[in-house]
Amino acid sequence: MLETTGAKKPVTTNPILDATGVAKNYGAVAALRNASLSVLPGEVHALMGANGAGKSTLVKILTGAVRPSGGRIQIRGETREFSSPGAARRAGLVPVYQEPSLIPDLDIASNLRLTRTPVEPFAEWVRELGVNDLSLGATARDVPLAIQRVLDLARALAAEPHVLLLDEMTAALPADLAERVVDVVRRQSAAGRSVIFISHRFVEIAAMCDRATVLRDGETVGVLKIETGVEERIVELMLGAKIEKARGVTHGARSTATVAGPPRVAVRNLAVGKLQDVSFELANGEVAGVVALEGQGQDELFEALAGARKPSAGTIEVDGAAVRFAHPADAIRAGLALVPGDRSEALLMHRSVRENIALPFSAPFRRWGPIALRKERATVTAAIERLQIDTRAQREVQRLSGGNQQKVTIARWIAAETRTILCFDPTRGIDVRTKREIYRLLRELAGQGFSVLYYTSELEEVQHVCDRAIVIFGGRVVDVLPVEIADEAALTRAAYGLPRQSEVAP
């Protein structure tokens, strides 16, 4: 079952944590089939996997947040039931998550008391991590975010865990603090403690980790020793067979040169949320894909373009003129509208299909008066037909299937003839047929001169819909791939911040 690739570290002791055959089913869906993870004492072990590989499910099982449907977890050779986060903690596995876990309205001392963390060792760790002026009486809310992350780590260390689980915890840290964290983690492993490290940054993994376990489709597909050049091998493992059956482009790519005039949307040095400096252009008649690992700030980018969030720096230009959106209404007036990834954020669940599609019509003040019902019905019906929405249950949108609901959210902007649609992962969790219909529709729109910005978490979609792929990593655009070479392998490499593979002869 466990295929071990690469040279193993000489095993002198038994693993401190040994999970084998872990499975988790949600109804008929298997989130994990056969995952295993074996961590040796004093080892820093990276856990890796593409989106949907089952990484977060495994973490939830290890930390006691979710009960596994099968498999066995041993700590120091003893089989343990991780029935609750508390039980996992008592077994010696302490997690530190990406988001701060201190309760914002309590002071630091009270936060420590909640987890029964001894104050002395905690304070020592805080100093060790390079924070010298912490007052225990400070309210957690008033402590800067980066310091809060350090406090989380110090609190975890003070509990003297056997295994420390760091889930993307360095992502929000400034470089100097991240280095301190890496230092401390290294010393932990020297002291015989183990660390499970989850990160998208190969640089950190190379600096810290001894081995890496790679998950794909809910299974452990390899355990590798970290050495130079291992990145390529890890990406290969994460992609698996997909690398061979990379599909060709399913549509004729549009040549950017044919469209004259300024780009439809130009983003220059935009900083918003996790994004520090993002620049790209979206041409008329183009579907541009945005590719990023989870949590790289792509949602903030889309919200900024839709006027739902204010950027802290940089400019957005529409048709060559700089714009500043104070409200989504401003963006809609400029012809930019967001189709959010979560349908429940876009739909009036208790209202009819028609009202949902017609909603933007009534929004401006001058349209508050009587509705021209006949005209509205014609427009809405045209949009429903164009998207082939199944309207048998149209009295309440919540009775529609997920795919049809998603079509309604898109139909709204088709009916409003919005020139630029910002689609944020619109095909998540919907059936294959509807997905194909959405691809076709977006291509059609592009053919008519509309433009679409398309974020997807399913990389294979890029070649189905997009003309280019804009890859974001670490707050910046790291690469823009033309569609011909934007297969899953190339996109995955780019999304992890790796350079393009040198052109190899076929």
Partner: protein
């Protein structure tokens, strides 16, 4: 569910009835209203006649208008607890000013505080995001305070309900209460606004999913401001009508209508969480509550028991109604 009916009719009868009710949520309300009237007729044979109906309608109308304020605010997930104060203020001001300045200026003066309170509510809820319950309760208390101050200045004048309001409030023409002359246009307007205008759509949209409305370009505070001003104006109009019916302006004139106005909207199927409901149900709710009050009165129970029963029935009816109508 547990019923596994064999054969072609796979959908059990109970479920079919619930589907039907869910598609026509007004049917159970009409049935309940008829049942109450029948019960009344059985307990007091002969009571249900033309005069009784006119009287019931007369008393249900001010309640139905105030319940209209609640319906519209509740559709956005809000509530307007200042309606009784606004109604009382309008009633009291018109009764003291119309004598001197004539009916037109009297009514205009009476509706002025309504607009001011509505603006305050709208700004507080829409812009500063104060919870509607707190905001409207606050403006209500401020309003009553102002009215007390105002009362001192007009003690010498005394109060007199203008004749046209008495005619409107209590008069009956050809068996129909004159109040319908006001109510039919008002109710039609509310129904039209809710069902056929962009503004009405936005009320439902904001209450159903504020984020979705925002992403569709709906500016929350504009909708809320217009809503609360409209609600307050409507409450002022209800106050004018109510003082014509009661004919004794006081500083607590419309207070007894406040909670029933909320109850009428809820009984009529409007969700206090927003997004669901309508004014037709509210009108039926107001009628149901008015008949229920009569029913409890003729049972000659002590006041306390009557109130207890009233409260319990409102709770029961609402729970049962939601059970019937929510088809999940």
């Amino acid at each position: 569910m547990s019923v596994t009916a064999a054969g072609a009719e796979a959908v059990p009868l109970g479920k079919r009835i619930r589907r039907f009710m869910s598609d026509r949520p007004l049917v159970p309300l009409v049935i309940l209203l008829v049942l109450l009237v029948v019960a009344l007729q059985i307990l007091r044979p002969g009571i249900v006649n033309e005069r009784w109906i006119a009287n019931t309608v007369k008393f249900a109308i001010p309640l139905a208008i105030l319940a209209g304020c609640q319906t519209m605010t509740m559709l956005t997930g809000g509530i307007d607890l200042s309606v009784s104060t606004v109604a009382t203020m309008a009633a009291f001001i018109v009764s003291t000013q119309a004598v001197e300045h004539g009916p037109v200026i009297g009514v205009a003066l009476a509706l002025l505080p309504a607009v001011l309170i509505g603006l305050a509510n709208g700004i507080g809820v829409g812009i500063f995001r104060v919870h509607p319950l707190i905001m409207t309760l606050g403006t209500s208390l401020v309003g009553i305070g102002c009215l007390q101050v105002y009362q001192r200045t007009v003690i010498a004048t005394g109060t007199k309900v203008p004749a046209f309001l008495s005619w409107l409030g209590t008069g009956v023409t050809g068996g129909f209460p004159n109040a319908l002359l006001l109510f039919i246009p008002v109710a039609s307007l509310i129904l039209f606004v809710l069902n056929r205008t962009g503004f009405g759509r936005l009320l439902y949209a904001v209450g159903d999913n504020e984020r979705a409305a925002r992403l569709s370009g709906v500016v929350y505070w504009k909708v809320i401001l217009a809503l609360y001003v409209g609600s307050s104006l409507l409450a002022g109009v209800a106050g004018l009508l109510y003082v014509g019916l009661i004919k004794a302006p006081s500083l607590s004139l419309a207070d007894p209508l406040l909670l029933p106005s909320v109850a009428a909207a809820v009984v009529g199927g409007t969700s206090i969480f927003g997004g669901r409901g309508g004014y037709t149900g509210t009108i039926l709710g107001a009628l149901i509550l008015t008949v229920l009050t009569t029913l409890l009165t003729i049972l000659q129970m002590p006041e306390g028991a009557r109130r207890i029963l009233f409260g319990l029935i409102v709770l029961l009816v609402t729970a049962a109604y939601l059970r019937i109508v929510e088809d999940r």
